[in-house]
Amino acid sequence: MIPATFEYVRPTTVEEAAQILRNAAGDDVKLLAGGQSLLPLLRLRLAYPAALIDIGRIDELRGVRDEPDHVYIAAMTTHDEVVKSAVVQEQCPLVALATAQVADPAVRHRGTFGGSMAHADPAGDLPAVALALDMTFVVLSADGTREIPAAEFFVDYLETALEPGEILLGAKVPKLGPGWGFHYEKFHRTAQAWAIVGVAAAVKRDNGTISEGRIALTNMGTVPVRAFAAERRLPGVPITNGYGELREAVSVAAEGTDPPTDLHGRPDYRRHLAVVLTERAVRQAAV
């Protein structure tokens, strides 16, 4: 299909973009980031926005900054830039690990970190990472800026806490300090396909056992889900030759989830996968 007609504007500052958004209040306008999710919707005529505001030429929306207690990733940083960022690789490797598994190189060169979060596709890989790492999103509107913790950001299927008129500027990724290991386990049928289930794991190691773990699941509901029940059982699980205990601990990984059904998997299969993949993710993160 080919998209319906729309207006197109390309501001050069975030303030200008926020002003355009405010003036458009009531109209169906959309921010255009990398276009990798939005353009397919337009082409399939599942979305008919009156105007697109292209934020691709706003310099301040790009790049990664190393701050004392967090890493700041600006919204328009492409997946490829995130994967290649030395700061991300060193300070928040889980983000790099997961982003490297998003789609294919062509998509990663256009798709953006912020676009993935704002789009909030439950099959997207990065929202679960945001949840596992307790990221904080920084948001701007014509009224000023505010911060939204990841746990409150993902509201429903393709729906976030962003208000109309708000632009996602970027995210603060807390530095967790020494002793943490990470892994993102993605299960999908082809290399460039979306996750059937994904598991983001951050595990703190202490003297041969797990002292703390954070687990977030991709595509196990309309929003990414923290597997709190499994997390609670992780402290004290031995890292070496303790896989029996690990399996036991993560057997509740799918508790409280409401996975979707589609051509790639029905809910019972996804729940089963969540457990298997959580064990693998935690094991990988712990070694």
């Binding site: 319906a4 299960f187 051509l263």
Partner: protein
């Protein structure tokens, strides 16, 4: 192949001449064509699988910006005719009327019901929303068995059975009577969607008297004849061009509604029109492939020696019969006996109408289905009597010294050496070591199980002897034409009736000509795909181009050479018999005197000094109609790791040893084999067109219809044995479909082998992780 040249071109791994322009896109694709005053067509397609159209109102759409015309099926009912089916496989076959745009009733989701013609493609798409159509739903007919049941909703008046076609040799009842071992299995060939890189596109134009259609088609020649017959535009006023075409896999072996309508609309409006499909539109409406339910029975002796094979097939035609829809399962009918000897064979196929997109040719067309069923069933036989799958094959296959061999499938295989191909494959694969690892994993109850799959395939290709096609009631012949022209400067133009859409004919034909005429590879140009410049041809499908079209090129070269010999003898003042032709020159035996073919070409052009009565030209055409099909064969071995916790199957190694006879260009062969294997693996593991219970296609995008990419596939280990075909002078066999035919059963056999400790004997294709996991749950509980 009579001359020995210093450096033979045939057999060289030449890089393809055409790739520069194809890869950079600096060429003419149909969608690139821009003509003054061009209009764009967009189709409104049925959202219902089966319904009566009770009201059509196009008036609002006609007033939309940029709209020039709007047509419904009814508006064109008097002139749109019926899309052709050229293969009425039986005398009493039901071939329903197939209007390019539906009139009165729609029979599948995606069927065109109306179209908008506008000044740009966006306006055309926008205006579709303004067309009003009311439907009165009828029951969808989706399941073949239900479609044939008493009281089923008829898709067409006259019921849902299109035809039943039967074939047999020997006394099959005797073979099954008291047979110590009988294996009976049912396999399902899921529905597939051909996914060529270039979507379908068509441009039609007219000067008021003559018509030109550019189409992304595999069959410009067939299309011209069929468009003339369908629209009534006389054939000599109609030119069809297939410019560079980006793949087809059979999907562009078709006469489509869109091509017919583009031509009729340009005729009505007098302006050029273009239509290009989107990928989702393509998934809905490019003809689909496979979709058969196969019941296969083997009768064997106690030690697994085959006595007979019975096959009962239901083939889903979809809602209509398209160009060769009913013939596709028949192309497999002769191949269910595979590489094996037996006394008797029986085949029955019933074509069934459903409310789905029509099916038709898809890479392999009939033979992948046949090969799958027999190669899966042979594994079952091996399992049943407790021998290795390779051993059961050795006990049954035709031995190399037995060729030519008349099979129970009714064909005579001219040549083959299954032992040699299998030995080579085993050596490359490390069969025994993998079996040892398999048993170790089984003993350890490892969560990752190893499976080994075997496929010793053969296939018939190179369509085909015209007489055989005639006996199968096919609507055309199977010959191919080539013309070879010597230009004054000694360069050569080849006009071929084949229609390459990615195969590399320009390169391969150049190699054939270079050897035959002793001219440099670079000095040969190949023209194709335009009925104005290449008027005679039967086009490209069924792995036919080299074994039929390539031979025509060779024969035309021989004629040119004979013409040139006359001129050379005249110039050298000797008898033609005194000349030998080597290294591109005619040489007088025993003396140093010679004339190069280029010198002869120039002398002929000048025509100052030619033999008396000699027409001043060297050019020649040849039309080749083969006596027989070609029968490539080979052994494919696949090792798969099945993760029993997730159900995921990962191919660990894949060995393909193919015997395609002599090879013109090993690099092109390698490409065909790799792509073919990938496509067969795709059927085994990934691809499936899924309709929901209302008849809506769920797999309309590539997020749902999964196609593997290089990242999902292992490195293939490929090799060849060479048993030249005796049915053509180059000793070549077709290779375009072999990989696809061979690989699907190798993969599924490997998965079933991995899962056999769980008591699993089959997994439905595609063997998705979820399906494998569920099979394991069922198998252990």
């Amino acid at each position: 192949m009579t001359d020995t040249l210093p450096e033979a071109e045939i057999g060289r791994a030449r890089r393809r001449k055409e790739d520069g322009r194809l890869i950079t896109g600096r060429t003419l694709w149909t969608d690139n064509i821009q003509l003054p005053g061009m209009l764009y067509i967009a189709f409104l397609r049925s959202p219902m699988a089966h319904a009566r159209i009770t009201r059509v109102d196009t008036s609002a759409a006609k007033t939309q910006p940029g709209v020039v015309a709007v047509f419904s099926g009814q508006d064109l009912a008097d002139e749109q005719g019926s899309l052709p089916c050229a293969w009425p496989v039986t005398e009493d076959i039901v071939i329903p009327d197939h209007p390019p745009m539906a009139v009165g009733t729609v029979r599948y989701v995606g069927e065109a019901v109306a179209c908008v013609v506008a000044t740009d493609r966006y306006k055309a798409a926008d205006a579709l929303d303004a067309i009003e159509i009311d439907y009165e739903p009828l029951p969808a007919v989706l399941d073949m068995n239900e479609a044939l049941a008493e009281g089923a909703t008829p898709v067409h008046e006259g019921g849902n059975r299109s035809f039943t076609w039967q074939f047999g040799t020997g006394d099959v009842d005797a073979a099954f009577r008291d047979a110590p071992v009988v294996i009976e299995r049912t396999y399902v060939q899921q529905r597939l969607i051909p996914s060529a890189m270039e979507p379908r596109a068509v441009v039609a134009q007219t000067d008021g008297d003559t018509y030109t259609v550019h189409s992304a088609t595999q069959i410009p020649h067939v299309l011209r004849v069929m468009l003339a017959a369908t629209t009534g535009i006389p054939e000599h006023k109609l030119r069809v061009v297939a410019p560079d075409v980006g793949g087809g896999f059979g999907s562009k072996l078709q006469v489509t509604a869109e091509e017919v309508l583009a031509l009729l609309i340009t005729k009505r409006l007098g302006r050029p029109v273009k239509w290009t499909e989107s990928r989702s539109e393509g998934n809905l409406t490019v003809h689909h492939g496979r979709d058969q339910i196969q019941r296969i029975s083997l009768a064997a002796s106690a030690d697994g020696v085959l006595r007979g094979v019975k096959v009962d097939l239901l083939a889903d035609m979809g809602a209509y019969l398209m160009l060769v829809t009913p013939g596709i399962p028949l192309l497999g009918a002769f191949m269910y006996t595979g590489v094996y000897k037996m006394d008797a064979y029986d085949f029955t196929c019933t074509g069934v109408f459903t409310t789905k997109m029509p099916t038709d040719a898809y890479r392999g067309a009939g033979r992948p289905e046949a090969t799958y069923a027999i190669e899966r069933a042979m594994d079952e036989l091996a399992h049943e009597i407790g021998v290795d799958p390779l051993e059961i094959r050795r006990r049954n296959w035709i031995k190399h010294e037995e060729f030519p061999y008349a099979t129970a499938g009714g064909l005579t295989y001219d040549s083959g050496n299954y032992e040699a191909a299998t030995d080579r494959a085993l050596a490359l694969f490390g069969y025994d070591k993998l079996r040892a690892e398999q048993s170790d994993r089984r003993d350890r109850n490892d969560s990752v199980q190893l499976g080994i799959g075997v496929s010793t395939y053969t296939e018939m290709c190179g369509l085909a002897p015209s007489r055989v096609l005639g006996s199968l009631r096919y609507g055309a012949g199977g010959w191919e034409h080539a013309t070879v022209r010597m230009l004054p400067t000694g360069k050569v133009e080849v006009v071929t009736g084949t229609s390459p859409h990615g195969q590399g004919h320009e390169t391969a034909w150049s190699q054939i000509v270079a050897d035959a005429l002793g001219v440099p590879f670079e000095d040969v140009a190949v023209l194709h795909g335009d009925t104005a410049s290449a008027p005679r041809g039967m086009d490209t499908y069924g792995s036919r181009s080299l074994v039929v079209g390539g031979i025509a090129v060779l024969q035309a070269c021989e004629k040119v050479k004979e013409n040139a010999r006359q001129v050379a003898a005249h110039l050298l003042e000797c008898s033609p018999d005194d000349l030998e032709f080597t290294g591109g020159a005619f040489r007088v035996r025993g003396t140093g005197a010679a004339k190069t073919i280029q010198e002869v070409a120039l002398a002929t052009f000048a025509a100052h000094n030619l033999p008396d009565g000699f027409e001043p030209q060297l050019d020649a055409g040849s039309t080749f109609d083969p006596e027989a099909f070609s029968f490539p064969h080979g052994t494919h071995l696949c090792a798969i790791e099945v993760d029993t916790e997730t159900g995921e199957s990962k191919i660990r190694s894949y060995v393909a040893v193919d015997d395609i006879g002599n090879v013109v260009n090993p690099l092109i062969v390698e490409g065909q084999v790799h792509g073919g294997i990938a496509q067969g693996i795709a059927q085994a593991l990934y691809e499936e067109a899924v309709y929901d219970t209302d008849g809506n296609l769920l797999t309309t995008t590539m997020a749902d219809y999964l196609i593997p990419s290089a990242a999902d596939l292992p490195d293939f280990t490929t090799d060849r044995t060479v048993t030249p075909a005796t049915s053509n002078p180059l000793g070549v066999k077709g290779v375009g479909e072999a990989g696809t035919i061979a690989s699907t059963p190798a993969v599924v056999n490997a998965i079933v082998d991995a899962l056999s400790p769980y008591g699993i004997r089959d997994v439905a294709m595609p063997c998705t992780p979820e399906r494998v996991w569920r099979a394991i749950q069922g198998g252990t509980s």
